[in-house]
């Protein structure tokens, strides 16, 4: 029974197909207009049917006004952290502070290796991700406490060596680093160094109730690093279908969805619900019928004043 007390966010997870090329762009615009908080795209750089996620995020940034953007999740093994840090800060500046950085340690090692990436064991990949996050934060960190411009970044890690890489640019806002994680070791790492956690509900054993055990690993990692578990936002990729009758979790009318997501938010700590959808009507319905109802119910249960709807 956990609620970390974060404000609620609602987003979409859009397939970045490259045929037609504007498909994902158009849906992100729909989500932006509908008032959702986040538009996210998966990142599989070895998949030739998808648009490159970074290119898409940058393009979408110019087509949207308010919505925040993120990969879901960015494939670190094929994107060097120093490069990623610079790209992310650049895009954050270009978008007026609307970028978040959700990272993954990599999973499809055959495909990664085929692209010239190195094959890592799961343990190594977590280690590499932690090193990478450290490098990213250093590149973003342009000013010394005294206001002096900091010197180059030097890291001699097991997985990355950075020799005096130039710092900057500094992002427009404090970009959240979120981690897509399911296993204890990477969850503890998430608790230690990340700002958020972004798993997919479909992979969580035991459904929403299964989140509790995973949250506990993150909390333990945070504790061990002397951080508050509240420093880590808990997000969740979800799948669902609007239909007249209740056919199971997130298979039913909007009111049923709202009840179910409220329950997950209050009891399992999730404060960001990202719906996988490539359908404009579903995205709009989620934004207009589900998101406000969950916000209201959660505020009520938390004893907060009812939130002002973003629209």
């Amino acid at each position: 029974m956990t609620d970390y007390g974060h404000d609620l966010q609602f987003g979409v997870f859009i397939t970045p197909t490259n045929n037609p090329a504007q498909h994902a762009v158009d849906l992100a615009v729909v989500a932006d207009r509908a008032g959702l908080d986040l538009a996210t795209f998966q990142d599989h750089p070895y998949q030739p049917r998808f648009l490159d996620t970074w290119t898409l995020l940058s393009y979408v940034a110019a087509r949207t006004e308010r919505i925040r953007l993120s990969g879901n999740v960015i494939n670190l093994p094929l994107r060097h952290p120093a490069l990623l840090a610079r790209s992310a800060a650049s895009l954050d500046l270009l978008s007026g502070g609307r970028l978040e950085l959700a990272l993954g340690a990599g999973g499809f090692w055959d495909a990664i290796e085929a692209m010239g990436g190195g094959r890592l064991t799961p343990g190594e990949s977590v280690e590499a991700l932690e090193e990478g996050i450290g490098i990213i934060r250093q590149i973003w960190h342009t000013d010394q406490p005294g206001g002096e411009r900091a010197g180059g970044v030097h890291v001699r890690g097991r997985h990355y060596t950075v020799d005096g890489a130039k710092r900057g640019p500094a992002p427009a806002h404090d970009i959240g680093i979120w981690v897509g994680a399911l296993k204890p070791r990477i969850l503890r790492m998430t608790g230690r160094v990340a700002d958020g956690w972004l798993p997919s509900l479909g992979y969580v054993e035991g459904g929403p109730a299964g989140l509790d055990a995973l949250n506990a690993h993150i909390d333990a990692g945070a504790d061990a690093a002397g951080r508050s578990p509240r420093a880590i936002r808990r997000l969740l990729n979800i799948q669902g279908r609007f239909q007249p009758a209740n056919g199971g979790l997130l298979q039913g009318p909007a009111a049923q969805w709202a009840d179910e997501l409220t329950e997950i938010a209050l009891n399992h700590g999730t404060s960001g619900f990202i719906l996988a959808s490539d359908d404009a009507a579903t995205i709009e319905r989620y934004a207009h019928e589900v998101a406000p109802a969950v916000r209201e119910a959660v505020a009520l249960a938390r004893g907060e004043a009812a939130p002002v709807s973003p629209r």
């Binding site: 045929n19 393009y59 085929a114 692209m115 010239g116 990436g117």
Partner: protein, 731 residues
């Protein structure tokens, strides 16, 4: 042109990244003012790739040229990113590549990166790319996506190794060191390239000198150093404006005076592409008005093959008007000795609308659909339109033209051969609705044929059209078809012969408003043979529909059924997948049948049992198609009630199995048969019809220019006097 490389001048803005709003404004200004490109160096604070992608979304015309420092980029990822940006921007990317100035200038790594990037761009998704470089490796990565256009790679670098690399592999060089051209050119020649393949790009600082003086300063760079692209580095809107409105016109004028024709020069064809040209084709005489695609062109990948067949033509001509078709035919006439294919929708089975080392005239751009007369339901349709598009265009009128069953098939090939479709028994063949056709004949003349104009030709086109000319427009009379009953059932056809016989008998007893096709084949060992049954009832009345289908329900155990009322357009199978992804050669046989006799059914069951055919289909025809006098059109087998077609992986096995069916057939439908030779032509056209066709062929195409689809031999001896003159003239 010794010191110029023949590239028409282009002008760009070299952006220094700064505050986003300011950048967007300057780029919008540059686009408005007519700058050709914007170059985004990685040297600023912001990542060039993110900036260029972001700018792409806010612009519509200007070319985007991010200059990426290779650094930690994975080149395969960069290749996909570049293809993505090209797709998102509608083909506006030019990829700049360079090395970090403080790195050890490893040009070899950059060269490998270029190989990898181009490999990704060329690769088919199915291809497993392998690259074993010193710096970069691919171990079976998927290729693709293909960019929207051929993305040029511009290399920046001033030291000799980068100039070498540029000469070997790049499409542009941003550096323009005074003597660098010599190194670049030598490296290009050593690599078997033409130095003119490489565009020379120069970045200049803004200047305070008056505009004419500024232009005069720049002129020697153009005529002496061969600079083709000039990038202005400026953040000052006044300078940005003055440069393009005052300096550039003066410079262009002076450059055109010094180098006449520069502003209209066509880019030189890369040596590698020239090497892929075919010996028998005179590429230099292709009329300039004609869009032409040859091996080595970016678009070649999308035109060399068709839906059913792999090919590698030496030239694909794509006329956009009937007049241009005439030009294309004239060009083809001068090349009588190479294969000639005519292509509309690219779904030919019998029609060789692609070939090896030959010419293809592709009229897919002539795809207009226009309603001429709502009273008479007259519709004018270009050969490049697809039947799915035609059906969709007629849907709002509650009209339909009986076509084939598949939305992707082109109008040109089907409407010149017959057209056996789901409204066949109710409305007849597609050609039975044709009222007029416009053609370009072998001699290049443009004619109209109808019942009253060139009636002989009109007769011939309806069944043997591909032998007589290239249709450039059709006029059809559509039928009122407000809605149809559409059934898809799946039967157990384990008792194959019994099933076929019962289906045939049931069909013949069903009113002609109903047309049905059955498809069998491809059963896996151990699975029962299934028959997919489809039927269309030309009625939107549910009771009529059910009463027509009811008798079929009992012919065999049924696994699935779906019956609905919908528009003709919705009933057609939508075009799926790549229209031009064919490879290899299809093997298909056709036969026309009066009745599904027990003997035929047994023979067909034997063919299916042998596994020689993975696709076996019987279509009902007849009905309204049989009302037409066999002498009224070149398609003459009017008494046939069924059209049978079989496809097999091996031609020999298919032919062996098919031989047992032959005795039952009376003729064939040419569109479903891939075999060639006089006996097949004779099976397609009964003697009286063939005789008339041969006489007309002698009149309209005596040299047999059009011969890619059941070619008719002209009545006179093959080598007529005019034929040999023609051939000599082409030499």
């Amino acid at each position: 042109m010794d010191n110029n490389y023949g590239h028409p001048l282009r002008f760009g803005l070299s952006l220094r990244s700064s505050a986003p709003a300011g950048m967007a404004e300057r780029v919008a200004l540059a686009e408005d003012l007519g700058y050709d490109l914007v170059s985004v160096p990685d040297a600023g604070e912001l990542d060039a790739w993110s900036v260029a992608s972001w700018l792409a979304a806010g612009t519509g015309r200007i070319i985007l040229s991010p200059l990426v420092s290779l650094g930690e980029h994975n080149p395969a990822v960069l290749g996909r990113a570049a293809a993505s940006l090209d797709l998102l921007s509608g083909g506006r990317l030019e990829l700049g590549l360079t090395l970090d100035s403080d790195s050890d200038s490893d040009a070899a790594a950059l060269g490998e990166a270029i190989d990898v990037i181009r490999g990704i761009w060329e690769g088919e998704a199915r291809a497993a790319l392998r690259y074993d470089g010193e710096h970069y490796q691919l171990h079976g990565a998927a290729g693709g996506p293909r960019p929207a256009h051929r993305v040029p790679i511009v290399v920046q670098g001033a030291d000799a190794s980068m100039m070498h690399l540029t000469g070997q592999r790049a499409d542009g060089w941003l550096g323009a060191e005074p003597d660098g051209n010599a190194i670049v050119d030598a490296a290009a020649r050593a690599a078997g390239r033409d130095p003119r393949e490489i565009r020379r790009v120069l970045e200049i600082e803004q200047s305070d000198v008056p505009s004419t003086a500024w232009a005069a300063q720049l002129l020697p760079l153009v005529i002496g150093k061969g600079v083709g692209d000039i990038l202005l580095r400026s953040a000052d809107p006044a300078v940005i404006r003055r440069f393009i409105t005052e300096v550039v016109p003066a410079l262009r004028q002076a450059a055109d005076l010094a180098l006449p024709g520069l502003s209209t020069a066509a880019p030189v064809r890369p040596a590698a592409a020239l090497a892929r040209r075919v010996a028998g084709i005179d590429y230099d005489s292709i009329p300039l008005t004609l869009a032409a695609i040859e091996p080595g062109d970016h678009d070649y990948a999308t035109v060399h093959s068709t839906y059913m067949r792999g090919g590698s033509p030496g030239l694909v001509l794509r006329p956009h008007t009937a007049e241009q078709v005439t030009d294309a035919v004239a060009f083809a006439r001068r090349h009588h000795e190479v294969p000639l294919g005519i292509r509309s929708g690219g779904h030919g089975i019998s029609g060789r609308s692609t070939n090896r080392d030959g010419i293809v005239i592709d009229v897919s751009a002539l795809d207009e659909i226009e309603v001429l007369d709502t009273e008479r339901r007259l519709v004018r349709i270009g050969p490049g339109a697809r039947w799915g598009e035609v059906a969709a265009a007629l849907e709002p009128y509650d009209w339909a033209i009986s076509s084939g069953d598949y939305g992707g098939v082109g109008v040109g090939g089907l409407a010149t051969a017959g057209g056996i479709g789901f409204l066949g028994r109710a409305h007849g063949l597609t050609i039975d609705h044709l009222r007029a056709v416009e053609l370009v004949l072998a001699d290049g003349s443009r004619v109209r044929a109808s019942a009253s104009e060139n009636p002989d030709l009109f007769w011939a086109v309806r069944g043997a059209g591909p032998s007589f000319g290239i249709a450039t427009a059709f006029e059809f009379e559509a039928a009122a078809v407000p809605g149809v009953g559409w059934a898809e059932l799946v039967f157990d056809a384990s008792d194959t012969a019994g099933f076929l016989e019962k289906w045939g008998a049931t069909l013949e007893a069903t009113p002609r408003d109903t047309t049905s096709f059955i498809t069998l084949g491809g059963a896996r060992p151990g699975e029962p043979l299934l028959a997919r049954f489809s039927a269309m009832v030309d009625s939107d009345d549910p009771e009529t529909i059910i009463s027509r289908l009811q008798p079929f329900a009992d012919i065999a155990p049924m696994y699935q059924q779906s019956v609905q009322v919908l528009s003709y357009a919705r009933a057609l199978m939508p075009a799926q997948g790549e229209a031009n992804g064919g490879s290899g050669e299809p093997h298909s046989r056709s036969g026309l049948l009066e009745h599904v006799t027990p003997e035929f059914a047994r023979a067909a069951a034997g063919l299916l049992g042998s596994g020689a055919s993975y696709f076996f289909q019987i279509r009902s025809t007849g009905g309204a198609a049989s009302d037409i006098d066999p002498d009224a059109t070149a398609y003459a087998h009017r008494s046939a009630q069924f059209s049978v077609a079989a496809m097999g992986a091996s031609a020999e096995r298919l032919d062996r199995g098919w031989a047992a069916l032959e005795p039952a057939f009376a003729g064939l439908y040419l569109s479903f048969d891939t075999a060639t030779g006089p006996d097949r032509v004779a099976a397609a056209f009964p003697p009286r019809t063939l005789e008339r066709l041969r006489a007309l062929k002698a009149q309209y195409d005596p040299t047999t220019l059009f011969r890619d689809n059941f070619a008719i031999r002209p009545a006179t001896a093959p080598a007529t006097a005019s034929g040999s003159t023609e051939t000599r003239a082409a030499r």
